[in-house]
């Protein structure tokens, strides 16, 4: 499939086939919908990031002096809700998954193109409700909506925030449904399950969680709304309800949701590590099984968020044990990525730098998770900055690093342009340094006992120095995040035109033109090779040095 540039003009791609607002808003092309998602989640990412910066600025000094207490509570609440539900959960699946899964398995589109568009519109409706909530004064429940605080004791926009997430949840369910059906039914001839790229396996595992978990969140939020509006007495003990019931329901989704965020990231890292090591993945079967194992066992560990919440001694012990079970497949993945590099031929382009960052930060996030799973330690560090640091290592250090790595890796395919490699490496470095500077001090703060969600710590000035470091790191991190947005936009106009396979990478997506035509393949591809067949790929000098 050559890139025949016609003399009469440009080759037809999904980008130049049609122009105008309508051709985008009514598109059913998975690649265009992926770009719609890209724009929307980037918007929400910067909103959530702005809240984070304000939080860090407030914590620069012990006294609560920059914003009011209520404002601070709204900031961390909306930071969490926007980042989790409107950025982290949709980011990789809805952008990169949407763009790549059909091409990777040799299909023209997802199984349900219109449902795919519907999922974006649901996301936008949810996002609009969230924006309405923010602009009307916000919400201060904490992203966790703990009852009875959220149902009886706050005067903020809990109902619209809950409904925003409720609606966005359906967008997530529909994306998951589309991926599961597409992976089962749309694979090209010869594309057997054992030849699927791990990126597709990761999204398959993720989609199962989205399908099975998200409805529980929807039900839970609806119950919160009902108790708030009609005083139904589900969670509030004063009305005969049980506040712990809420926590069980909430975490039944929200713990697996962590895997919705991280599994697609693991898929990306597998692709990148293989490509830049020029090697087949080490232990393909173990890697695929580990993804599924995490998805399944991940449903059985939710109450480790509740060890001090008032659950019974023996329930806590069982959930602690199960939490260690889920750590094993995560460990397997780290070992296999490392082993993939063994005897490779490694180069250090931007995506690989992000993959290195992911492996390091995910390892640290995972290992500190072992601290939290250990009951004796958890009692002390839960609800402190230790937990904050831990989940940011997984969700930002892991997931956002992987997302950025993936964006750089596939940007030539998506846009048809190369990004500037030097700037890319610089941004990767800034993100890595800024991230560690922001969140590593928080582990120490947590063990020292600084509770999370504290607006004012003037009673404990000993916390200040670490908070100053953290805030300094956040500014570096912010620069690291803004840079790629600038040079990606710049490259759309001024970047070097990308060849079809700038990295000499394996996989069907690199056999179609950059950017791909609307239906991806001019003729039905037939797969006769295993995944990551780097031994069969000619070593050319990569364009991006």
């Amino acid at each position: 499939m050559a890139t025949a540039v016609l003399e009469s003009g440009e080759r037809e791609t999904y980008l130049n086939k049609e122009y105008g607002i309508k051709s985008w808003l009514l598109t059913v092309d998975h690649k265009r919908i992926a770009l719609l998602y890209l724009v929307s989640i980037t918007f929400f990412f910067f909103i959530g990031g702005f809240f984070a910066l304000l939080i860090r600025l407030e914590l620069l000094t012990p006294a609560g002096d920059l914003v009011q207490a209520d404002t601070y509570n709204k900031l961390f609440t909306m930071h969490g809700q926007v980042m989790v539900f409107f950025f982290l959960i949709p980011a990789v699946p809805a952008v990169l998954g949407n763009f790549l899964i059909p091409i990777m398995i040799g299909a023209k589109d997802l199984a349900f193109p219109r449902v795919n568009l519907l999922s974006w519109y649901l996301y936008i409706i949810g996002g609009a409700l969230m924006l309405y909530t923010i602009l009307n004064g916000g919400v201060d429940t904490g992203w966790t909506f703990y009852t009875p605080l959220s149902t009886e004791f706050l005067n903020t926009h809990v109902v619209t925030a809950g409904l925003a997430i409720f609606v966005a949840g359906f967008s997530s369910i529909l994306t998951g449904l589309n991926f599961v059906v597409t992976t089962h039914r749309m694979r090209a001839p010869g594309m057997t399950w054992s030849r699927l790229p791990l990126f597709v396996w990761a999204h398959y595992a993720t989609s199962i969680i989205q399908l099975l978990g998200t409805p529980v969140l929807a039900i839970t939020l609806l119950l919160v709304v009902c108790e708030r509006l009609f005083h139904l007495g589900i969670f509030n003990p004063a009305l005969g309800g049980d506040p712990l019931l809420f926590q069980h329901l909430f975490w039944f989704y929200s713990h697996p949701a962590v895997y919705i965020m991280i599994l697609p990231g693991m898929g990306i890292v597998s692709e990148i590590v293989c490509c830049f090591s020029r090697k087949r993945i080490f232990g393909y079967t173990a890697m695929a099984l580990a993804l599924l194992g995490i998805a399944v066992v991940g449903f059985l560990v939710w109450a480790h968020h509740m060890f001090v919440a008032g659950i019974s001694l023996y329930a806590a012990m069982i959930f602690s044990l199960l939490s260690y079970f889920v750590a094993v497949p995560s460990a397997i993945k780290v070992f296999n990525w490392t082993s993939t590099m063994y005897k490779g031929s490694i180069t250090y382009q931007t995506p690989m730098l992000y993959a290195f960052g992911f492996i390091g930060l995910f390892t640290m996030g995972g290992l500190t998770g072992l601290f939290l799973a250990s009951l004796g330690i958890d009692v002390h560090v839960t609800d402190t900055y230790f937990v904050v640091a831990h989940f940011h290592y997984i969700m930002v250090g892991g997931m956002v690093m992987a997302y950025l790595g993936g964006m750089h890796f596939w940007w030539p395919k998506i846009s048809g342009r190369m990004y500037p490699e030097g700037w890319g490496r610089l941004a990767a470095l800034l993100v890595f340094v800024g991230f560690n500077l922001t969140f590593f001090p928080q582990f120490i703060l947590g063990y020292m006992g600084m509770p999370r969600r504290y607006w004012d710590y003037s009673h404990s000035p000993e916390f200040q120095i670490l908070n100053v470091l953290s805030t300094a790191g956040a500014t570096v991190l912010a620069v690291g995040y803004v840079l790629p947005m600038i040079y990606f936009l710049w490259s759309m106009r001024y970047g070097k035109p990308a060849p079809d396979n700038p990295w000499n990478a394996a996989g069907l997506e690199w056999m179609v033109p950059s950017p791909p035509p609307t239906f991806n393949f001019e003729e039905q591809p037939v797969v006769t090779w295993e995944a990551y067949n780097y031994d069969e790929i000619k070593e050319e000098v990569p364009v991006a040095q």
Binding site: P148, V308, M317, H459
Partner: protein, 309 residues
């Protein structure tokens, strides 16, 4: 307790630190050793079942040590010793209210002596709070509508931070206080000030004023169960279940008498939900507990000063 937690923490730090160093070293060594060189191609390796099994089983065994050690500490943290001094705690937006068995009341400050086991019996008037003393390495959420329990044993005099660790609204970060640990003689002096009425005595008065005593008689079996010596014992219910009469059971029986009917009695008791405050409820619970520690009882200590004020 703090030492045990720290020991496990250091063990975890060392083991996971070694794992981190090992992985980082391998990544760096491979990245440098196998960097792209002209004329050299990657060697394709499919994987190794033996390796996969090895690096599943070894971490798993290490994890089980983490689990077991953590569980043992947790088990101790959840089992207050028999003769602990008890402090009834009511949390509300945004303060901590403490009441000692001897009747002393405190707000946002808790005085305890060195060397005594202190059991916190806690409930909330509104939302969920969390009792967190970093220096003691303990934390326990405090819920509305039930009691939760934490305990500690202070060994060094000083003033320690007390934080609310569960987000509870506007002034969450203002819901802080301190635990003042004193030498026993200083504590006695602090305790001696002011003629306070022991909590169980307050409870006994309430028991009479609210009319509880007309049915729950202590000399004979009245229309309600005789409450002498029931605390901590199993109670046979009408539906055949058996429950242990702990603090939560007594609390529930006062607020929702219909929830668990004792075998052989009629569900005739009116509810006291909304009619008594959490402090009054605590006093009643303390009184009912004191009935199980008859003057001749050996459980001793000063905590149940029920016989005479």
């Amino acid at each position: 307790m703090a030492n045990n937690v720290d020991a496990l923490y250091i063990f975890l730090l060392v083991v996971s630190g070694m794992m981190t160093v090992a992985i980082f070293t391998l990544v760096l060594v491979f990245a440098v050793r196998y960097r792209k060189r002209p004329g050299q191609r990657a060697e394709q390796i499919d994987g190794s079942h033996a390796l996969e099994i090895t690096w599943s089983l070894i971490p798993f065994c290490i994890f089980m040590v983490f689990f077991a050690w953590g569980a043992i500490i947790f088990f101790q943290e959840r089992k207050p010793p028999q003769n602990s001094a008890e402090v009834y705690t009511v949390a509300k937006q945004w303060m901590w209210k403490f009441e000692h068995m001897e009747g002393q009341r405190e707000i946002n400050e808790l005085h305890v002596p060195i060397g005594r086991d202190v059991k916190m019996i806690m409930t909330s008037q509104d939302v969920i709070h969390s009792f967190f003393v970093p220096a003691f390495r303990i934390k326990q959420d405090v819920l509305p509508g039930r009691y939760t329990v934490a305990w500690f044993h202070a060994t060094k005099a000083g003033t320690y931070h007390l934080f609310c660790a569960e987000y509870c609204g506007t002034m969450h970060s203002g819901m802080v206080g301190s635990v003042v640990v004193m030498e026993p003689k200083d504590y006695e002096a602090w305790m001696g000030g002011g003629g306070n009425q022991p909590l169980a005595v307050t409870g006994e008065k309430l028991f009479t004023e609210l009319g509880c005593v007309t049915c729950h008689r202590s000399d004979t079996q009245g229309r309600g169960p005789n409450l002498v010596s029931i605390f901590g014992k199993p109670v046979l219910l009408e539906d055949g279940r058996t429950v242990v009469a702990d603090e939560n059971y007594i609390r529930e029986s006062i607020l929702q008498p219909g929830a668990k009917i004792v075998n052989g009695f009629k569900p005739i008791m009116p509810t006291f939900q909304g009619q008594i405050s959490d402090e009054q409820l605590n006093a009643l619970v303390a009184y009912v507990k004191s009935l199980s520690q008859a003057p001749s009882g050996q459980t001793g200590g000063r905590k149940m000063a029920t016989a005479t004020p």
